[in-house]
Point group: none
Chain length 206, copies 4
DNA sequence: CATGAATGAGACTTCATTCAT
DNA sequence: CATGAATGAAGTCTCATTCAT
């Protein structure tokens, strides 16, 4: 027999979490649709079909909501991407997996990706006290930097500035959401092939 | 006797243009400094050292001002970049010139570049009625698309989807302002060399 | 067999009263700590360690809660002060007892006193429909008015306007919480001596 | 002939100052009428017959407005009271002048006095960053403290704690607005006589 | 041409209160 | 009895825009 306390604890936590998740989802969709600057709490609430005040009830403020959006997208993205990279053993294969998993995630959750880019580029980061944009930027590049460093040590990549190359690859990947927004019917697989080939050629030993 | 209408017409036009240019410059600097979302007409006016109302007098609204900012930056950018490309004769050299001139322009006018990126990514485009973001996007890629098409025909580039490759290269270039904002002491020349090499490798015949 | 109605009636009444007292205490402490204007139902509930809704369950609204706070503080104050006055037989001694007991009450229950002053001066009274501030004011002065009237009849006080003198004495006493709030280590005994002497001199026959 | 620059300078400054004064006056009246906590910017604007935004245009925020209200009331009060005190030469006469001028000011500007008390006691001070309530309290008592110290040195006052006596006198004076609010037809002259006599008796040498 | 006073919409947030569980 | 999710009103503030001067 399951004690009530557990049930209650779960169900209460469940409702709370469900609402928070619902609001975060609504925020993601709203930001993706109208852009960060026009994604007011009112609009987010309207999309979620709830009242304005309810967002304030579940989140301390817009900053916390946006922070949750980013944390969610990042966490989900990492959970999506990491296994695909870990499944590979060589840096070259891991780089391909990195690109492929990033694009697969965009395909699976286009709104999330657009929202993320909107927040990062739309001034949303400045609204998040306690978040250092420069440090976030560094964190974003870190996996690629490590991957490139290991790959160069293993002789699988040519010599290049790993930080610059990391930014190059991220720049290429980050351009995809923009492409998607202009052409929703975009053939992501073709994109993936083209990008993978280009990055391959740009990084392999000469 | 010189008619008043002429005098007025001329002087008005002159002052008018000077004011518009001054305001556009102030807008560029303000957007680059505080980001698009925080670049209010008030702040722009304050930076220009004029009153709020004067902007409204010279521009129909914020949309027209932002539109002018973009048009100006584009036009100046094209005027800066085009000669450097035209000075080259082969697609390969032109591609290198394209990248180099883009980064040189960023170095010469960092505020303009940052402002442009801020507007494009910060939701500013959506504030511009009559401007089709998709068409703007296409225009942005067009020079590269043509360059790649010509280069492939000449056998200087390998076979790839020219549109995708154009977006790849723009993505790489557009990542530079972000890098600059996180590291103002960035060595643009090194960046240029790395990017040029990477793009070279990614596009040349195998 | 004891009917449920009785059991419930009794236990409800008991719990009911305990809860109401707990909430009133929490309200007093909250008001004393953060001021009337910042003493929201949420904060009061948090201090009581209960949910927001429970206050609404036990009190018809904020007005009733504040009314209960005032009634409680008044009643407790009267219960504290009255015996000390009744223990004296002459108006002069009773006046001293009035002052002394008021200050002793402040010393014993500083939060209550601060809360009372906060409500009275912080606009709390206007939130209490059905309470006539003017009448409350009159009630506040009444004991002193009666005391002065009796004392003048007995020849123990000089001739003065009893209402004005009552307000003077209350003014002096009501200034003590303010002094306390600015200096928690205040020597109340010195205050008591100084005030008693001053009032003595101001009221005794010339 | 008066130059335009002067006229313009004056008239512009005049309009600005006139509006600010009008808004401050409306704030004073609103606070006096409905209490500090209910004196919203909306209500103040409505009383001034202007839009909400105009207050924000002339004042950086509610804090600045309230600060201006206090500064104005204080400055006007000091300008009203100081000459009456300076006209006297002995501490005893100055003390009487202090009390008399305070009550005269209340009679002349009842709303200002009520507003001041409302702000000080209604939590308004806590909304003013940069203002130390304890220091404000000390400043409020300072003139009396100095007056009593001088008077004791001159042998015109008996020995007592000057700070406590200062608070006693302020307490007596600060009780007057409350009396006024409950009885608008109050005979201030009688009040003044009673208070002056009482304070005289409480402070003169025994 | 230019100013700056003025407006009104809209944003975020807090709060008292209601209600299903 | 008690909870906490939910609402809607109200408050402060920012902003683009208009208009008399």
């Amino acid at each position: 027999m399951v004690p009530n306390s557990d049930q209650d604890g779960q169900s209460r936590s469940f409702i709370e979490e469900a609402r928070r998740a619902q609001i975060v989802t609504a925020a993601v969709e709203t930001i993706a649709e109208v852009g960060y600057s026009r994604a007011s709490m009112s609009r987010i609430a309207a999309r979620a079909g709830i009242s304005r005040g309810l967002i304030s009830y579940h989140f301390a403020g817009k900053a916390e909501l946006i922070g949750q959006v980013m944390a969610t997208v990042y966490a989900d993205g990492a959970a999506f991407i990491a296994p695909m990279i870990d499944a590979e053993t060589t840096p070259t294969a891991q780089l391909r997996a990195y690109i492929r998993s990033n694009l697969e995630y965009m395909r699976a959750h286009p709104a999330r990706m657009v929202a993320l880019v909107e927040i990062v580029t739309g001034g949303g980061l400045a609204d998040l006290p306690g978040i250092d944009p420069t440090e976030s930027d560094r964190q974003m590049l870190l996996p690629l930097v490590e991957l490139f460093t290991a790959g160069q040590a293993a002789g699988e990549f040519r010599e290049f500035d790993v930080t610059v190359m990391a930014r190059i690859v991220r720049g290429v990947i980050d351009a995809v959401p923009t492409a998607l927004s202009h052409d929703p019917d975009l053939d992501i697989d073709r994109y993936l092939r083209e990008i993978t080939t280009a990055v391959d050629l740009a990084t392999r030993p000469i």
